[in-house]
């Protein structure tokens, strides 16, 4: 029921009197009552264009059918969505949409998730009365990542409105008139903005095609998992689509508190290093590869023989993994923990409010919650000084980022001052030279657990594929095995189980568990004011 203070409007939908918050459009209001009116040009994140006309319904206030995306509900308004007038209007639009549209669904990347295809099944004719030659429009590259297949374009202008309103870059426009009109760019100005990939997502047909995904997979064959983008500390909600266990595409997932419907191209295309030939895929010692149990034995041996162990964490680790590192560090006396941060990138804010953070990692905030907020500051300086003065012999360092330089030159130089180095890395790199043990690290999209975004939002990231022919145990499993071998853990738990342990000992997470995080995350509310995670930008 609507809030008492919110004014409501009583109107009639398909003969039934209904009530909605005043000011809603017919399309939105009908949807609240389970009546889905088809649309092409309407997108909740964009302005109303009202050009596709498929959402026409019959109204008692107009002699002609009205478009439900633009007309608003009013007291006494009577709307029919299934009357002869409404159905005929809808079918008319479908017929018009299809007459010049190519029947190339078998080779179209949008096939299977195409709005035109879906509406064609529900509202379209089963045969064409159109025997003329179809119109030909251009197929060309609009930018480094996107091409237009003009014949498929239904000129809904979602993409041009996106570039006008959301990215604010206005590269796309409609050229020509009538049934020759098609999306294009201005000469010499390709579409190359940081949000360009979203235009492909919102294209209701296969007119805008992403070079990255072209001919890669049939969408109905892919598996989908909700996750979080690890590209920066915004924590954009995403859907990871995999085929036969391989990532094919990242898509933004709607979350009005974080990323609306969008994601940036940096995050969208930032997963190729997962398939790099340079990945570290198995544990190894100085004498060669080690299997799982021998690597743990070697690890324990080093810990047992080290008077003082230091840990260098990274902001890619999940809260659960960090909790395990924390526990491991706590089990040996006199240990030191510090964290390293990747170099700051470029931050951006777009006209519609979408933001890209300068912090190119997902969980600095979470690490600060688990270890206290000095972990990347004072603790890190302290650790660096200890390394410099040679008081640390053994260090365990993590690098889950995409950089082959690991934690960067400064830290790499400091690390070699510890004689025994146990290094977790996603990619091979010079910083691994001379390590006592090297372990494969999991990258974002391979981790199961939680991250805390720069806005203090606790969100779940999911493991969407496992690298390597024989998958290696990730940090979550490996650190628990170490604890078992050390006798500090009785049984191995899932990420949810570790989170429960974390929530019991770490105040900011108290009272939460994996299942109540849900698909859109939750705010960690009880932080003292002024202790923000930001400050990096």
């Amino acid at each position: 029921m609507p809030d008492i203070k919110t004014p409501t409007t009583r109107w009639t939908l398909n003969g039934q009197e209904v009530e909605n918050t005043s000011g809603m459009t017919i399309l939105e209001a009908a949807s609240e009552h389970g009546v889905e009116i088809p649309c092409f040009c309407y997108h909740p994140g964009l302005s109303i264009a009202g050009n596709c006309r498929i959402c026409m319904v019959e109204s008692n206030r107009s002699p002609k059918p009205v478009i439900s995306c633009s007309e608003r509900i009013a007291d006494g308004l009577e709307i029919e969505t299934e009357s002869e007038v409404a159905v005929d209007a809808r079918n008319s639009v479908m017929e018009f949409q299809l007459i010049n549209h190519p029947l190339d669904c078998p080779v179209c990347d949008k096939s299977g998730e195409c709005v035109l295809q879906d509406h064609s099944y529900s509202h379209g004719p089963d045969r064409s009365r159109f025997i003329e030659d179809k119109n030909i429009r251009h197929t060309k590259e609009l930018g480094p990542t996107i091409s237009i297949w003009g014949n498929r374009c239904i000129v809904c202008t979602r993409c041009t409105r996106f570039c006008d309103e959301i990215s604010g870059t206005s590269e796309l426009c409609i050229v020509e008139r009538g049934d020759r009109s098609v999306v294009d760019v201005f000469p010499g100005i390709p579409i190359d903005n940081q949000l360009a990939g979203n235009t492909v997502d919102i294209c209701p047909v296969g007119a805008l095609i992403s070079h990255d995904f072209k001919f890669e997979a049939r969408v109905w064959n892919m598996e989908r998992k909700d996750s979080i983008c690890g590209g920066c500390s915004r924590g954009c909600n995403i859907e990871v689509e995999t085929l036969d266990g391989f990532v094919k595409r990242l898509m933004p997932r709607e979350n009005q508190d974080v990323n609306d419907w969008w994601m940036c191209d940096e995050g969208r295309y930032g997963w190729r290093h997962l398939y790099s030939d340079d990945r570290v895929l198995e544990a190894r010692g100085p004498s060669g590869p080690l299997d799982s149990s021998r690597s743990i034995t070697a690890f324990i041996e080093i810990l047992d023989n080290s008077p003082r162990v230091a840990f260098l964490i990274d902001p890619f680790l999940t809260c659960e993994e960090l909790h395990l590192v924390h526990a491991l560090a706590a089990s040996s006396s006199d240990s030191l923990v510090g964290g390293w941060l990747p170099e700051q990138g470029a931050a951006a804010e777009f006209p519609a409010g979408f933001k890209i953070s300068a912090d190119k990692h997902p969980n600095r905030n979470g690490a600060e919650q688990v270890f206290g907020h000095q972990v990347f500051g004072e603790d890190a300086s302290h650790l660096q000084r200890a390394l410099d003065d040679g008081s640390i012999e053994t260090i365990v360092a993590f690098c889950g980022g995409p950089d082959p330089d690991g934690p960067g030159q400064e830290w790499s130089a400091a690390l070699v001052k510890a004689s025994t180095r146990i290094l977790f890395s996603v990619l091979e790199g010079n910083w691994l030279d001379g390590a006592a043990l090297v372990f494969p690290a999991t990258a974002p999209l391979e981790k199961e657990g939680t991250w805390v975004s720069e806005d203090d939002r606790l969100q779940r990231t999911r493991s969407c594929w496992k690298p390597g022919e024989t998958p290696f145990p990730g940090e979550l499993v490996l650190l628990q095995s170490l604890q078992s071998a050390l006798g500090t853990r009785s049984r191995s738990l899932s990420a949810a189980g570790i989170f429960r342990e974390l929530s019991e000992v770490c105040a900011p997470f108290a009272g939460h568990n994996h299942s109540d995080i849900g698909s859109s995350g939750l705010l960690l509310s009880d932080r003292p004011a002024g202790v923000g995670a930001g400050g990096g930008a």
Binding site: I48, A49, G50, N51, C52, R53, I54, M56, P63, K64, P65, S70, D88, A89, S92, V93, E95, F96, Q97, I99, N100, R129, F130, I131, E132, D133, N135, I154, V155, T157, C173, I174, E176, R177, G178, D179, R180, S181
Partner: protein, 438 residues
């Protein structure tokens, strides 16, 4: 009272377009009276309402009522946009006013600006009207020099600026909201209504959009009063009117006559009758967007109500006359190509429908028609009418459905005999049609 011409009275005179000539013949007297401080704007609006002046652009909306929709108190500037795009095929009346009588338009603009409280007026003129633009600009310069326009227009203390803006040759920019979008600097796509221009028009501000001929009526209404004006022609759509007659007549041209003149009189008396002694076949009475009339239906008065009752419209009063030798298939192809070319392409039914109609008509004309195409044309028209943002889809469908319905035998003949006569004449070797789809 004898009918007095107000637009074309002096157009034969060489200097008719100058301010001196215009003033000599009583010009700007009405604007001076209207702009005097004692005159209340509302009395002007009431006068125009009482005169029953209907818009001359095509839709025939009551001008005074339209002015009344503009908010009286608003913190935004208000604009007048004069529609001088005159893009409707068969129409050439506004051009005559602007070329021969530009000060009449300027006087009308002054009166409108006073009535609605407007300081800035734009004249959106069709780009091809180079000569009209020059004449108009010259007249505006004269008016500024004389202090009739500018910061203290006619000494009234009110600022009234007039700017001429040239279009770039799109039919759709004659549509009221398409014109406003174009004026704003965007591609001239019509806008969703509501909001209507009177509330949110050009640059998001309240805007009056009036046709050239509409505004040019205003000085005369002020001069003779609402009652006398209403007595010219039918009471509900009165006034002097410019009729443009083109096509197969002996004496084509623009004729100023009282509203409600019989169509037959217009063609036979004023336009010299159908040419070459031939018989009348068809007439489009109000620009190419109107339903066509057969020769038998031409006993009709040329005013808004009478033509609506006859199933067509006065529109822009562009009367296109076709003689008995006209093949209506070719005529329709001509019209359909135009709408296909000019549809802006934003609404699906219009974008696809205009192209489809043009292709079907083309196919019939070229000897590849099928009998079922005639029903298909009707059906496509039904599916276009009333389903788009602006009326361009209607404008394409109205002539199409009426031509096919009223001149079915021409189409049947083209389908059965391998194409339209004109096409067969041009392509004697392929008569019988190319590979048929049927």
């Amino acid at each position: 009272m004898a009918f007095r011409k107000i637009f074309t009275q002096h157009i034969q005179k060489k200097t008719c377009h100058t301010m001196a000539f215009y003033k000599q013949h009583g010009g700007y007297e009405q604007a001076k009276a209207a702009l005097s401080k004692r005159k209340k704007p509302d009395t002007l609006i009431d006068l125009v309402k009482a005169s029953n002046l209907r818009g001359r652009g095509g839709a025939g909306f009551p001008t005074g009522v339209k002015w009344g929709f503009v908010p009286k108190t608003t913190d935004k500037p208000k604009y007048l946009v004069v529609n001088a795009d005159e893009s409707e095929p068969g129409t050439f009346k506004d051009r005559l006013i602007m070329e021969k009588n530009p000060h009449l338009l300027l006087e009308g603009i002054l009166i409108c600006c006073k009535a609605v409280g407007i300081e800035t007026a734009y004249i959106y003129i069709r780009g091809e009207f180079v000569f009209a633009t020059e004449r108009l600009q010259k007249a505006i310069d004269e008016a500024y020099d004389a202090g009739f326009l500018g910061n203290n227009a006619l000494g009234s203390g009110q600022r009234i600026d007039v700017t001429v803006h040239r279009g770039a040759g799109a039919y759709i920019c004659g549509e009221e909201t398409g014109m406003l979008t174009s004026l704003e600097g965007d591609r001239g796509n019509p806008k969703l209504k509501p909001p209507f221009p009177a509330i949110e028009g050009v640059f998001g501000c309240p805007t009056v959009v009036n046709n050239v001929e509409t505004l040019a009526n205003l000085p005369y209404i002020l001069e003779i009063g609402a009652d006398a004006y209403r007595a010219i022609g039918p009471e509900n759509s009165p006034g002097p009117k410019l009729f443009c007659v083109s096509g197969h007549v002996e004496n084509p041209g623009t004729f100023e006559l009282p509203m409600g003149v019989p169509l037959r009189t217009l063609i036979d008396k004023h336009a010299g009758g159908v040419w070459k002694g031939r018989k009348l076949k068809a007439v489009i009475p109000g620009g190419s967007s109107a339903h066509v009339l057969t020769a038998d239906e031409c006993d009709v008065a040329m005013d808004i109500e009478s033509l609506a009752a006859a199933g067509t419209m006065l529109g822009s009063a562009g009367v296109i006359v076709m003689d008995e030798t006209t093949c209506m298939v070719d005529a329709m192809l001509n019209v359909m190509r135009f709408y296909h070319h000019e549809s802006c392409g934003q609404c699906t039914p219009c974008r696809e429908g205009t192209g489809w109609l043009a292709k079907i008509t083309h196919r019939i004309a070229h000897g590849e028609g099928r009998m079922e195409d005639l029903d298909l044309i009707q059906d496509v028209c039904d599916r276009m009418v009333g389903k788009t943002i602006c009326a361009l889809a209607d404008a394409a469908a109205f002539p199409a459905e009426s031509i096919v319905k009223k001149f079915k035998s021409d189409f049947e003949s083209a389908i059965q005999n391998g194409g339209s006569p004109a096409w067969k004449k041009r392509h004697p070797s392929v008569v019988g049609g190319a590979a048929s789809h049927a």
